[in-house]
């Protein structure tokens, strides 16, 4: 169980959070092609290394936050 640094609450057990994954920018729904839209829905970079991801402090301050995490070592830092 890793620790997630919440800017409001401090470092807390990941069990308090919901994992939001890599944030993907929402394409303009009026102009997006199917390919763009489904890329937004389903495609993630999934890198082995530093990633930026979203977590939701469900059992704490209930804020969505952005965290950088190394998916190889689970090192975590605030962006």
């Amino acid at each position: 169980m890793i620790l997630i640094p919440c800017p409001w609450c401090g470092s807390r057990d990941a069990g308090e959070f919901a994992y939001g994954g890599e944030p993907t920018p929402r394409p303009d729904p009026r102009t997006a092609t199917r390919e763009q839209w489904r890329g937004y829905l389903y495609l993630r970079n999934n890198v082995a290394g530093w990633t930026t991801e979203r977590w939701y402090h469900r059992m704490g301050c209930r804020r969505y936050l952005t965290v950088q995490r190394n998916t190889v070592t689970n090192e975590v830092r605030q962006p």
Partner: protein
């Protein structure tokens, strides 16, 4: 009763309390013991030498290590199987039995396996019991009778051990291992200001000092005094069994009063790993015969338990600890017949005797009579916690053991003691003291400017590489794997340590590699002509020590929610229904009667679990327009509207009504199961996509008790408890909301909606008055025939009305058009969540549709989930199905392929019992009042 014939005079370091004698049972006979004895030490004091039968060949087994890891004395205690007999302390009246022996320990029929041992080679089970395939069930039955392990009682735990427990701790420094190094590091860290927890597997601290000489005991005494004054929390009979990311450390704590085991979850700022060293057995013929022991085993027996381990011993020694064992044996009155000094190249060839040691054969064929063979051939470093932290174990052939590659350790893990090196006690203590101070510094317990502690290097003693003798013997004592089996595995191509392990099951028994893994690797290395480093080790994974599933599960804690009206439901015979976290009334004994009460008169239902979000701010309409598929910008104050939410893939997420209570004040309702997830959904859009919008969200699900009053006489009933709200159809039409006083309670919200299809009002009243309003409604409506109805009646009512339930009539793939929501979806809105996918779904035409379905035989009620089959192909499924008391027939909703969705289409329902029945697609989803005259009344 047995007598303690092998008990020695008082020993200086003994842990038994001679003032507290007790008795316990071993295989039904009474044995004497002292408090502080383990099961094994007490039995050994009475001259018992055989404690179990081995796994595969059912050979007699005695003590090997006389410690927790001893594979030879795993026993059944009462209804608890697989107890480590060399660790568990005896208690008065304890009922201990040997396990996996039939009919008795002395006469074991399964020992026939030993006589036919040549038929049980490596991989025997894989090779033999695979073909012919159809015979596997028979093989399985027979093998299970031969499998190892005790008996699990089908009854719950004994009453004095009522439960399992969990504890969360946040020490600055956690020290794993309470030998001299761990004790010193703990004291040093505590003195530097850290909050320290020290965890020790055994019942007392001190490690090898406890069975050492006078100087060792004196040093131990001093260390214990220092520790007692340090404020360190000490857990004995507890093991750190896993180190996870960010120093999340799992500990199993045993021997507590009232709880069976406790799982301690520690989040340590720094972890000090000081597990000491484990003595390694020697592989040679007869090395598992009762009477062959490690040097630490005899030193424990003599010094801790005052037990004379034999009468005449032969000792094979390669190190000072083995030499010390010779001194201990002689002091205990054991005749040391011969010392084989492995440092000079001497060796043992084989043990003579089967049921117990009768002698040994030396190189050159010389035989010596003895009843005890002691080996001291080297050490295994239990690096598990360090490898879990990321280090790679590196083999040092000069020291004949593995060391941690410290460069790869994270900053918050520090090793100390024997896993790092050797040296005098003073050197070990100086090293551990520096480690403890550094651990405290890294934990932030000292000022940041404090320089890093200088950790001195520990010397590493040379040790001969001794793994096996000139003959074959047992490598894995718990799995009965011999060195010959390993060679067979290598010959058959399993030349990597990981493969040979799985093929032979070496290291996979209760000792989990602690005794045997290095010997396994060494023998494979030799057989493949590689070095030990080239061969590599097997991976050590958590748990390091066995932990019960009960401890992992912890206490049974499942919080439930009750509405304020729950006491009434209980008093009136409600059948409880578990709905998520809520316990709700399913019905009050007669769901069909409850349905008819609503259709004909008036009923009230407790709908408190409905999710409720209070939304305030100027930008609420923008939020509603974004999240719902329909249009919201023109909702006037006093109106409510039904809305459906989709995810970005167009799949239906939730539904409910939202009312506008004031200019910038809305109340959103969600499904009961969606209460939490919709709140998060709303927050995610506000926080991540539109942080500029001014909307304040407050969850009020449990702030209100919610009651739906439904039926043709609901207006009349409500009129009796509402004073200031005009309930006439003109003043309070369908899909409107009013606020005011109900049954004397201010601050209530009423909205006119119709999930049941009847004229109905949903009340949201301040929760603490829920029961009062509920009872007032029932009291006031006696003459109207008012009746409480439950979830089941509501399900029937809404099905009669054709209202869908998200998650029942839709699933994780149902896009909004397939849910039959065409009339609601406004693709002409610029944007809403899921719009793009719905535009494309509309273009392509939905593949399936939600339809009403009537079985042609009105008496057949298909089970929900029944498939619809046409021309041998599944074309849909029944999503909801009930007997309708209103229509006296079965009614269904179904998802069907679009080509079968036209009203009047005949489809075939395949029932679970295999029958196929015809059913017809209906014109409307609703079977009752499709025009909606009743709910608009």
């Amino acid at each position: 009763m047995k007598r303690q014939t092998r008990r020695l005079d008082r020993q200086p370091g003994e842990v038994i309390d001679r003032g507290s004698p007790l008795e316990f049972g071993w295989n039904g006979r009474s044995y004497p013991a002292y408090a502080g004895d383990t099961i094994a030490s007490a039995l050994a004091a009475c001259g018992e030498r055989v404690f179990s039968r081995s796994f595969k060949y059912h050979r007699r087994r005695g003590l090997l290590t006389a410690s927790y890891t001893d594979p030879g004395c795993i026993v059944q205690v009462g209804d608890e199987p697989n107890v480590r007999g060399a660790h568990r302390l005896v208690t008065p009246g304890m009922d201990v039995r040997s396990q996996d022996t039939w009919p008795s320990l002395a006469f074991d029929v399964k020992a026939a396996n030993e006589l036919v041992g040549r038929f049980l080679p490596a991989g025997f089970y894989y090779k033999t019991f695979i073909r012919p395939r159809p015979l596997w069930p028979t093989y399985e039955r027979v093998l299970r009778r031969f499998s190892h392990g005790g008996v699990v009682s089908p009854d719950p735990l004994s009453p004095e051990l009522s439960s399992y427990d969990k504890r969360q701790v946040h020490p600055d420094v956690l020290v794993a291992g309470g030998g001299p190094a761990g004790m010193t590091a703990a004291v040093a860290a505590a003195r530097a200001g850290a909050r320290v927890m020290l965890v020790e597997e055994e019942h007392s601290l001190g490690g090898h000092l406890r069975w050492g000489d006078k100087a060792d005991l004196a040093a131990l005494h001093d260390l214990r005094s220092l520790l007692a004054a340090s404020g360190v929390e000490v857990l004995t009979n507890s093991v750190v069994f896993g180190r996870y990311d960010h120093n999340h450390v799992a500990i199993v704590q045993r021997g507590l009063p009232h709880v069976y085991e406790r799982l301690v979850k520690a989040r340590a700022k720094t972890l000090v790993v000081s597990p000491g060293l484990i003595e390694r057995p020697y592989v040679f013929a007869g090395n598992d015969v009762p009477g062959v022991m490690l040097s630490t085993a005899v030193r424990r027996l003599i010094n801790l338990y005052a037990v004379k381990p034999g009468d005449r011993a032969v000792v094979l020694t390669a190190n000072p600890q083995g030499d010390a064992a010779v001194v201990d044996l002689e002091r205990a009155g054991v005749e040391v017949a011969h010392v084989v000094d492995a440092r000079g190249g001497d060796d043992l060839v084989r043990v003579l005797g089967r049921g117990g040691v009768k002698g040994v054969e030396l190189v050159g064929g010389h035989r010596i009579e003895c009843d005890l063979v002691v080996t001291a051939v080297g050490w295994t470093a239990p690096l598990t916690l360090l490898t879990m932290a990321g280090t790679v174990a590196a083999y040092d052939s000069r020291a004949a053991r593995y060391f941690p590659g410290t460069a790869t350790l994270p900053d918050d893990v520090l090793p100390a003691g024997g896993v790092v090196g050797d040296g005098t006690l003073d050197e070990l203590v100086a090293h551990a003291d520096a480690v403890g101070r550094e651990a405290a510094r890294r934990a932030g317990s000292m000022s940041r400017r404090e320089p890093a502690a200088e950790i001195p290097a520990l010397p590493v003693d040379a040790h001969p590489e001794l793994f096996h003798g000139p003959t074959h013997g047992i490598v894995d004592f718990s799995e009965d794997v011999s060195s010959r089996d390993l060679l067979t595995a290598v010959e058959e191509g399993y030349s990597s340590a990981e493969l040979a392990k799985r093929y032979t099951t070496a290291t996979m028994g209760p000792t989990q590699g602690k005794l045997e893994s290095v010997n396994v690797v060494a023998i494979i290395a030799e057989a493949t002509g590689r070095t030990i480093s080239q061969t590599g080790t097997t991976t050590w994974r958590p748990p390091y020590a066995p932990v019960t599933l009960g401890a992992l599960a912890g206490r049974h804690r499942e919080p439930v929610r009750y509405s304020p009206m729950h006491p009434w439901h209980e008093r009136h015979g409600a059948a409880p229904l578990v709905a998520g976290a809520w316990i709700r009334p399913d019905h009050y004994g007669d769901p069909a009667g409850e349905v008819l009460a609503v259709r004909e008169r008036v009923g009230i239902i407790d709908v408190t679990p409905i999710g409720k979000l209070d939304l305030r701010g100027p930008d609420v309409p923008k939020l509603l327009n974004l999240l719902y598929v329909n249009r919201w910008s023109k909702l006037e104050v006093g109106r409510v509207r039904y809305g459906v939410m989709c995810a970005e893939d167009g799949v239906v997420l939730d539904d409910g009504v939202t009312g506008r209570l004031g200019d910038q004040h809305y109340l959103m309702s969600t499904t009961s199961s969606g209460a939490a997830s919709v709140w998060e959904w709303v927050e995610s859009w506000l926080q991540t996509e539109h942080p500029g919008w001014q909307v304040h969200v407050t969850p009020v699900t449990t702030s209100y008790a919610s009651i739906n009053v439904a039926g043709p006489r609901s207006r009349e009933l409500l009129g009796r408890v509402v004073a200031e709200i005009d309930l006439t159809p003109q003043a309070f039409p369908y899909m409107h909301v009013r606020t005011g006083r109900v049954a004397g309670v201010d601050g209530c919200v009423l909205w006119r909606i119709g999930f049941t299809g009847e004229l109905s009002f949903e009340l949201h009243v301040p929760a603490s008055y829920g029961l009062h309003v509920w009872e007032t409604l029932l009291d006031s409506g006696n003459d109207l025939g008012v009746r409480a109805f439950g979830i089941e009646a509501q399900r029937i009512l809404r099905l009669e009305k054709g209202h869908l339930i998200v998650g029942q009539d839709t699933d994780g793939l149902t896009q909004a058009f397939s849910a039959g929501l065409d009339g609601l979806i406004r693709l002409d809105k610029d944007d809403f969540v899921g719009r793009s996918e719905l535009v494309w779904q509309a273009e392509a035409a939905a593949e399936s549709r939600l339809v009403g379905l009537h079985p042609n035989d009105a008496s057949v009620v298909p089970e929900e989930g029944s498939q619809l089959i046409e021309a041998g192909v599944i074309c849909g499924r029944v999503t909801s199905s009930r007997w309708s008391p209103t229509l006296h027939r079965s009614i269904c909703l179904a998802q069907v392929a679009t080509e079968f969705a036209e009203p009047g289409t005949l489809v075939t329902v395949r029932l679970p019992d295999g029958r196929s029945v015809p059913a017809t697609v209906t014109e409307h989803l609703a079977s009752v009042d499709p025009e909606g005259a009743r709910l608009r009344g």
